[in-house]
Symmetry: C2
Subunit: 89 residues, 2 copies
């Protein structure tokens, strides 16, 4: 089962808590933090707070950057950057 936390527009702590919960309550070995567009900066904030402050035993396994092609309402395709930060303990 994949343990994915999608980072959106809420406050950073919501996502930090979601990651901590996945690691602790669900005993996940890996949690994937995903975001796209402007939320990418927040995904990095989440990773930094988890690994530097709350769970120093958690490390980054892999970081993947990419592009999603989204179909706009007018039928035009919009490119949005994505990030995937794979954390493990």
């Amino acid at each position: 089962m994949d343990n994915i936390v999608y980072v959106g527009n809420k406050g950073v702590m919501n996502y930090v808590l979601a990651v901590i919960t996945q690691f602790n309550s669900e005993n996940a070995q890996e949690v994937i933090v995903k975001a796209r567009g402007k939320a990418i900066s927040r995904a990095v904030d989440v990773e930094e707070m988890v690994t530097k402050r709350f769970m120093p035993e958690v490390k980054i396994k892999e970081i993947n950057l990419g592009t999603d092609h989204i179909q706009g309402e007018d039928g035009k395709s919009i490119n949005v950057s994505t990030i995937e930060i794979i954390l493990f303990k």
Copy 2:
């Protein structure tokens, strides 16, 4: 010599052109794209446009995430997330 492009608040294409110039005119083998805070998302946009559209021969060598501790005007320390994307050809 380090070839660093600092991504800030200007339009994405400014930084894309800066990276392309470093690779072509200055014949750099490596260019480092750096950003912090909200500009992190734009740094990923720059990387994606360079590697997917303009210079497909350029690849990601390494991605480093971190935290800068900035001294605020009131003397308080503020934490800001950082990204460093090392590109090579």
